[in-house]
């Protein structure tokens, strides 16, 4: 996909996020929207996957360690064809397979159940190790929140990944700067994030999480990095794409009401219309 196609797709992913959370009347739009471009790049460009064969043996794996941003993952999976986009409206409802947090048992395309922060990265490390042990050409990606990295288990997993030189592993930190209780810098600062991963023997790339040229270059660099895992610190804007959610901690775990939903969708429609006018250079 070229950048324009990726941008258009990411905009559709964002619409799916807002629609799902609005329908559920609960969920986490802020961190889903901040990572929408990353989800889009992974599922439409980077990863070796097949929506028609979600359990394909040699597929690349993705673990959403920051599991509360499931609406982002679900919307990317739905738009990629793993299940109907229409089903996003069943998010969090009784009887729906779209559980509040990712469940690998119920949802096509979900490689690991997650939601309890700090645990997904360990599972991703186990997958990367398992692939290495059998010389399988499988790459493993895991997305963490910047608040999530306050969990000690993240650093246990990072120490192991660095020690074992798991160069088939890419850890992405969605650095939107906000967690429930406020800015991460004020709650319990994880900064400097890049230096920490460097100290754990990762190759570290800082990237603008909303610039597909930068994202493309970062994942290419990760692929070319041998002998160590890569950490991509994705500098993002929480709530990206929805005017009143951008940069606001209030939208970490709150659903828009009908009025707010209309505004949010109008924002995204407008972005879509502008993208339609663009011509890929």
């Amino acid at each position: 996909m070229n950048n324009l196609e990726l941008k258009k797709t990411a905009n559709e992913v964002r619409k799916g996020i807002v629609t799902a959370v609005h329908s559920a009347k609960a969920g986490h739009p802020g961190g889903s929207l901040s990572a929408a471009d990353i989800y889009t790049y992974l599922y439409f460009e980077e990863m070796n996957i097949d929506p028609k064969n979600p359990k394909m043996e040699e597929r690349d794996r993705f673990v959403l360690s920051k599991g509360h941003t499931a609406p982002g993952l679900y919307s990317a999976l739905a738009n990629r064809g793993f299940f109907p986009v229409e089903d996003l409206k069943t998010l969090r409802k009784l009887g729906s397979y779209l559980q509040g947090h990712p469940s690998m048992q119920y949802i096509p395309g979900v490689d690991m159940s997650s939601g309890s922060l700090g645990q997904g990265i360990s599972a991703a490390v186990g997958m990367a190790l398992g692939a290495k042990m059998d010389n399988r050409d499988v790459r493993v990606y895991t997305l963490l929140g910047d608040g999530e990295i306050e969990e000690g288990q993240v650093w246990e997993a990072s120490m192991f990944a660095g020690h074992r030189k798991l160069d088939n592993l890419v850890v992405i930190v969605d650095n939107n700067g906000l967690q429930i209780d406020g800015p991460v810098s004020e709650v319990c600062s994880p900064y400097p994030i890049d230096k920490k991963f460097e100290a754990f023997n990762f190759h570290v790339i800082n990237v603008d999480a909303h610039d597909f040229d930068a994202i493309r270059a970062a994942f290419k660099e990760a692929r070319e990095t041998k002998g160590m895992p890569t950490a991509i610190i994705a500098h993002s804007l929480k709530g990206k794409g929805v005017s009143f959610m951008e940069g606001s901690v209030a939208w970490h775990g709150t659903a828009p009401n009908d009025e707010q939903y209309a505004v949010a969708m109008a924002d995204l429609e407008k972005i879509g219309e502008e993208l339609d006018k663009e011509v890929e250079a």
């Binding site: 690998m104 690991m112 159940s113 939601g115 990265i121 360990s122 599972a123 186990g126 692939a131 288990q153």
Partner: protein
Amino acid sequence: MADVKKIATRESYGNALVELGAEYPNLVVLDADLAAATKTGVFKKAYPERHIDCGIAECNMTGIAAGLATMGKIPFVSSFAMFAAGRAFEQVRNSIGYPHLNVKIGATHAGITVGEDGASHQCNEDIALMRTIPGMVVMCPADDVEAKAAVRAAVEHEGPVYIRFGRAACPVINDNPEYKFEIGKGTVVREGSDVTIVATGICVGSALEAAEMLAAEGISAEVINICTIKPLDEEIIINSAKKTGKVVTAEEHSVIGGLGSAVCDALSASYPVPVKKIGMQDVFGESGSAAALVEKYKLDGKGICEQVKDFLK
């Protein structure tokens, strides 16, 4: 029983892994810097490329095992019960139990027979913790023969399994040609008519000693060995309760949430009879030799015998 062969079940664990490692090339063993103590060192020596030392980080080890299981491995997570079930409880629950992954947890140094290390390392809560996780099989073998059989059964079973092993040598009681093991099946190891003693782990040996002492005083005790605490062989317990009308449970674990509670759950639903729960009576352990602790906390033959007699008064 002084002349009986004694082997610690943690030794059995390591030996079983070596044997199964030859049959199952996808079997891998994880440790958290305790391979020498969990006795998985023998597996490490035999299959160094399939032994993964995670360092002192049990929560991460548990998650790594989950990831390995999704890649087709059969991981055995090894640590002391305190850390495998205690520290990493939530990782076991959310990363292994909830997705129902094929991970086996080999927890050694369970209960007070850890001995000298004291209460911080004597886990009397692991059975209670593990049995609350949906889909988790929980086993507590009584001796070397049963421990090896349980490890094999765990490999053959698809899904999460927790197996509890001890640090101290304990008598081999199942060394007979008729011995058969099946997950979820208990065994009547001694028949009797006055009282039923349902025991698990090292308390099976103690219960058999107690039954011998009770017989000398004219009390006929039936002894049931329950290795699989979940799923529990309710039928064997209820049938015995119908015969004796009185049940005693014996375990090297808290009386809260362990075998005793599981047996009470089964009996209260189907055939309520008076039950006496022998075990750690809502207290922490302490430092001392395994033998001295087992005596003090009345989990040896004499201690169980006395408590059964009190119960029957």
